[in-house]
């Protein structure tokens, strides 16, 4: 086999019959302006061919579905190894995916706990060794013969379970007695609990010791262990026998309380295992609870005017309306004052009820609506449990059956996810907290920053007899931790939820996982691995990519970052332009060869590394600003920050320093909560001054435009309705009697009935994800044949959707509305994107720029807006960044304020004001290192960003 991947005659999308050779075992960068065909070459050709060949190796049953997979339009491809794609996308909302599960460190940590974990007595926290059941049986058989041994097991009550329910469950299981704080109670009597007990031990059974325990006795032991999740209490009731056998507890458990722990399995620490997960939250770590302010629709209105949502108090619901009115009258608070002005006790009554106290039901004067016959009569004494209590009760009751969609949306509207009050976020049964390594339990270990975790793991002393079992596990943990730390994610912890990571962080975690897997002979296609990473940390990514190559893999990255391009063994530059102007290989070769190449667009940037200033350095008005005081969410250390208004302000700092916490969690959420939805709870801070200066807020982050397969850029920016109108009004439409606009929507009447307008069919194959196969009915055209016969200016609707923005701009130049909207997108460097590209396939950076284009198109006459953007340069070539900056400047010049979280030096140096957060990540970050103009940043010795920029600017 030749030592490269040979791709010959590629005509896919805009690629112009190109051929390329990618060396095996090396790092190859595909660069070029946005839309030049980089992704097509990497994903639609190399990855697609690899995937198809892999699936061809599968069984005939699976091949039934794969036969129709779209073949890339190429002559041939040779030397391809199995391909792994590591793309950037926001992880799905799933509370169960964590850094631990993604990196698989949790799996190995669970093994470690099961091998060297020691138990702690739940009653006194004294530690003792964990034994195997076989060992325990042998030791029990050594006790004095005929000794009676009573077995107990600890039990815990979840927050929402009542004691009576718990006792009823135990009775059903056949248990008769329970020890509550050492006091023995009979479950056949009423048991009243005045205060929360410290310990509850269920008395299981008694066994009599013989030289050889009977099968029944072993069965009893096993059952009790199962009930106690590995923890049992062994009690010898007879004092003499207890004295004789005291050695047993000194050797095996807690000598004071007789607790013994047996057979701790790795699965005991998996919150995805129902038997190990917290009973209340089932391992998610969060539980739903009604939140008082969420039931308030408008705090400026009075109860009478509809301050509360209509489900709780509305004139159209007589009983609910009269009940709140009666409550107000009886307890003496106003029914007519704005809700926000009501005293606390009144709000308490509305949210939490009268605690059983009754009050007469009254009818407001002039209110005549009759109550249905089933509710109370006027004058009757009624009670009110409170809206929050009512929602919580309803939720608990409804949990027992499957929730309807209406109920789900009802609960989502008024309830928030709160840390589970049973497991306190540990996600595991309480028993699991009593298994520790060096005194630290599994959950607390998961909360450590990865750097600290590594130090901890290295400090664990391994008993010689367990060395063989532990060493391979330790090795796996350390390798994975090293990868994550090396890649700049040392500030994360294993318990951090994956859906709270940025696209870049998520991608890097997966990348580190690949290093840990130790696989070789693969081809990795990695999309912009430096996204979300501070320039100073690029070296970490470069090292990681090198490691992959050293392991024997081929790495192909799509990258714009100059550091990465410089570090590559081989560079393929696509271009020269985007869309129809691209699709060629402008230059290929080593860095030296590229730099010497005349036509290369990237060569001048590689040569000089100079940053270009788009504006003259100016001073900003520091008095005209928003002032955030006491920002304290996540790792922010109660900091005060001033953000100048009507300026381009850039938040910088290394990954994990706290930029997003400040910009999104506090700034954006505080504005959104204040201006639109009071139910949004901003991150902890004392106050924000100057909020009145802002009319509205708009956050353009990487997930802001939705992820629907049926949405397209044309629908998103709002031109598709107009295009459909043009088709519905054209001559062909009248001729074929297709004048209804719905015919030109693939989501509606005009869509192919077989694939419902998608153009392909989704087939789900276990472990391989969804496979898309071409629709045999429409052959990917999405529309019915009749609709496709309607032509507007010689093109049918599908052909229009397949146009890129640049072509469409010319096609629709007669229509001012469509033309203007398309131009904003084109101006932001998205001219290569087609009108009908499914939104779920566009990158985070593209999504942001689309969002920005939409906003700019609306901005005429708008001022005093606050725009917040999170790394808008993602996926942008250095050339395109200039266009982006011009667009942003347009918004600022019209009197708006722009806050950008960014690592890209081009954007940073062009900002009016820079706020550098850090100095480090995680607990080492969270402070303002320096805030000021570019000059201030460059002069600050403590600022990593400043020093990095200094290096770049000549």
């Amino acid at each position: 086999m030749e030592n490269f991947i040979n791709v010959n005659g590629v005509r896919e999308h805009n690629l112009k019959n190109i051929s390329v050779k990618i060396p095996h075992g090396k790092h190859t960068v595909i660069s070029g302006v946005s839309g030049s065909g980089k992704s097509t070459l990497a994903y639609d050709v190399i990855y697609a061919a690899g995937q198809k060949r892999l699936l061809d190796c599968l069984s005939e049953d699976v091949k039934l579905f794969t036969s129709k997979l779209k073949q890339p339009d190429i002559n041939f491809i040779e030397g391809l190894t199995p391909v792994v794609s590591i793309k950037q996308y926001q992880p799905r909302k799933n509370p169960r995916a964590t850094i631990g599960t993604l990196s698989e460190i949790s799996t190995y940590l669970r093994y470690l706990f099961s091998i060297i974990g020691e138990a702690r007595c739940p009653l006194c926290n004294r530690s003792y060794p964990v034994r195997s059941l076989h060992y325990l049986i042998k030791e029990l058989e050594k006790l004095t013969e005929l000794t009676i041994v009573e077995l107990q097991f600890p039990i815990y009550k979840s927050k929402n379970k009542k004691y009576e329910e718990l006792f009823a469950e135990l009775r059903e299981k056949g248990y008769k007695r329970i020890e509550i704080d050492g006091e023995r109670k009979d479950l056949r009597d009423w048991i009243t609990i005045d205060k929360q007990p410290q310990s509850m031990m269920v008395v299981a059974e008694k066994i009599q010791i013989h030289k050889e325990l009977s099968r029944s006795d072993i069965q009893i032991l096993q059952n009790t262990l199962l009930q106690g999740d590995g923890f049992i209490r062994i009690v010898i009731p007879d004092p003499v026998e207890r004295e004789e056998n005291a050695w047993f507890f000194h050797k095996h458990g807690c000598p004071k309380h007789g607790m013994v722990t047996v057979d701790i399995l790795p699965i005991f620490f998996s919150f995805n295992d129902l038997h190990s997960a917290c009973e209340e939250c089932r391992g998610s770590g969060v539980s739903k609870t009604a939140y008082p302010t969420m039931v308030v629709q408008n705090k400026k209105k009075s109860l009478k005017q509809g301050a509360l949502f209509s489900q709780f108090c509305s004139r159209s619901k007589p009983f609910e309306y009269m009940r709140i009115y009666s409550l107000a009258k009886h307890y003496g608070f106003s029914f007519e004052k704005p809700f926000e002005d009501l005293p606390d006790f009144a709000k308490n009554l509305i949210f939490y009820g009268t605690d059983g106290e009754t009050f007469p039901l009254l009818r407001p004067e002039g209110y005549t609506k009759e109550m249905p016959g089933y509710t109370a009569k006027v004058g009757e004494l009624i009670q009110f449990e409170g809206i929050v209590n009512w929602i919580n009760r309803l939720y608990r009751n409804k949990q027992k059956s499957k929730l309807s969609d209406a109920l789900k949306s009802f609960f989502n509207k008024f309830m928030i996810d709160e840390v589970c009050q049973t497991c306190y976020g540990t996600r595991l049964k309480p028993h699991r907290q009593y298994i520790t390594i060096k005194g630290i339990n599994y959950y607390n270990l998961g909360n450590m920053e990865l750097g600290d975790l590594k130090t901890f793991i290295e400090s664990v002393e391994i008993p010689p007899e367990k060395m063989d079992a532990v060493l391979p596990v330790m090795r796996e943990i350390k390798t994975r931790l090293d990868s994550l730390i090396q890649i700049g994610l040392g500030y994360l912890s294993l318990n951090r939820r994956a859906d709270t990571l940025s696209g870049g962080e998520y991608q890097r975690v997966r990348l580190a996982g690949q290093i840990g897997s130790g696989l070789m002979g693969l081809t990795y296609i990695i999309d912009e691995p430096t996204v979300g990473l501070h320039g100073m940390d690029n070296i970490k990514i470069i090292d990681l990519l090198e490691q992959l190559c050293v392991q024997g893999n081929t790495v192909i990255t799509i990258e714009h970052d100059l550091d990465i391009i410089k570090s590559a063994d081989y560079i393929i530059e696509m271009g020269p332009g985007a869309g129809v102007n691209g699709g060629e290989i402008v230059a290929s070769g080593t860095i030296e060869e590229i730099i010497k190449h005349d036509k290369s667009v990237v060569a001048p940037f590689l040569k000089s590394g100079n940053l270009s200033l788009q504006k003259t350095l100016s001073t900003v008005d520091k008095h005209d600003c928003l002032k955030i005081a006491g920002a304290q969410v996540n790792n922010l250390k109660k900091i005060d920050v001033s953000i100048p208004l009507n300026s381009l302000v850039c938040f910088t700092g290394i990954s994990g320093s706290g930029k997003s916490s400040l910009a999104i969690e506090i700034l954006y959420k505080a504005f959104w909560s204040s201006l639109h939805d009071p139910r949004i709870i901003p991150g902890k801070h004392i106050r924000i001054e100057g909020m009145e200066r802002i009319k509205d807020v708009y956050c353009i982050d990487q997930s802001s435009i939705g992820r629907s397969k049926r949405s397209t850029p044309a629908t998103f920016i709002g031109v598709f309705d107009k295009i459909r109108n043009l088709f519905a009004e054209c001559e062909d439409a009248r001729k074929y009697d297709l004048t209804n606009v719905s015919y030109y929507s693939f989501n509606s009447t005009g869509g192919c009935p077989s694939c419902k307008g998608m153009g392909y069919l989704d087939t789900h194959i276990h472990y391989l994800g969804d496979l898309q196969t071409l629709c045999s009915e429409c052959q990917g055209e999405r529309y019915t044949k009749e609709v496709l016969e309607v032509l507007y200016k010689g093109k049918n609707i599908k052909q229009v959707l397949d146009m890129d923005f640049e072509t469409a701009l010319q096609f629709f130049e007669d229509d001012a509305y469509i033309r203007d909207k398309l131009r904003y997108v084109y101006d932001l460097g998205l001219g290569y994107m087609t009108l009908g590209q499914p939104i779920d396939t566009i990158s985070g950076g593209e999504a942001q720029r689309l969002g920005l284009a939409k906003e700019i198109s609306k901005v005429r006459g708008k001022s005093n807006m606050l725009y917040i953007m999170d790394e808008p340069t993602t996926g942008l070539h250095s050339q395109d960044i200039e266009k982006l900056l011009q667009a942003i400047r347009t918004l600022v010049d019209k009197g708006n304020s722009m806050v950008i979280i960014e690592h890209n030096p081009d954007v940073i140096i062009n900002a009016d004001y820079i706020i550098d957060i850090g100095p480090g990540a995680g607990r080492d970050g969270g402070e303002v290192v320096v805030a000021g103009t570019l000059q201030d940043i460059l002069e600050c010795q403590d600022s990593v960003t400043g020093q990095y920029l200094k290096r770049l600017i000549k």
């Binding site: 009676i148 009576e164 329910e165 009823a168 009775r171 059903e172 299981k173 056949g174 248990y175 008769k176 009979d186 479950l187 056949r188 009597d189 009423w190 059974e205 008694k206 066994i207 009599q208 009977s214 099968r215 029944s216 069965q219 009893i220 008082p292 302010t293 606390d344 006790f345 709000k347 308490n348 009554l349 949210f351 939490y352 009820g353 009268t354 605690d355 059983g356 106290e357 009754t358 249905p372 089933y374 509710t375 109370a376 009670q383 929050v388 009760r393 009751n397 309807s404």
Partner: protein
Amino acid sequence: MEKPELRKRFEKALNSLVDKFKKDKKCLAAFLVGSMSHDLIWEWSDLQVLLVYDDSYKGPIDYHLFEHDVQVVLNIRRRSAFKDYLGSTDVSDYFFCALSKSRLLFVKDITLKEHFEDIFYIGDRDREIEMLLGFSEAIYYLNKAEKNFRVKRNRANAIFFLVQLAQGIAWMEVARQRLIPEREIITQASQLKPELFAQIYDLLFKEPVTDQMIDQILTTCHEYLKDNTLEVYRPIISYLNEHGTLKDFHLKTREHGFGINYEWLYRMGIVDVYVEPIRINNQTEEFYQIGYRIKDRIGNDNESIKGTYER
């Protein structure tokens, strides 16, 4: 009158069996169940013996033997199954009640003996629940008897239901004394409350039944139930006092049988009935579900409101 020679024959057969089973190492305990353990026997009686074996026992669980001219019904349980049975059963189970009157013939496992002796304890909770269930059964038959007597004018059916009504009351009285109910429960209860059962049950068999007598029995039963309402319904009234309604009230009773009758509390004027709209099977059609709320709460001490509205 029992024949002494018959009992002697039965004893001989029993002793012979016990001697044999004692020799079996795997046989842990033997119980004599049925008439021979606590009642008179006659020619058609048989010996009923329950054996508890070690868990390794794998044979059939029933044998019909013949020992010294006596028919023997042998029932075998493995130790863990026997313990599970004792743990899960209750006084409504016939075999459980039979066991309560059994005689322990021998036991080799002291823990089994302790367990067996403990199992017949009736706690406060069990007592009150059994009283409630007996009471609810009595109300059900009281309604049936009254309807047949006063509406349908069917005296035969009324008498039939009066006997069942007496049985419900008997269950309640036996539970009140923390006793295990026997098969002939009215006889058992009559010994506890002879005057009551003389009025509501014995009359039916001692004198010709007249309308006046039925009316009198119904009145007596009604009065009796009314007088006992507060005591029997104590757990429910106590809950109502605390929570106002029975919306979230769950009192786990056995799955079979009558359940708890709440309607009686309404008849006694203790609770009000209201209805709430509900949807069944997520249909759009509304139905109305009955609920109960207490009329006059006892001991309302106007506690302060709990919770805060702000975090």
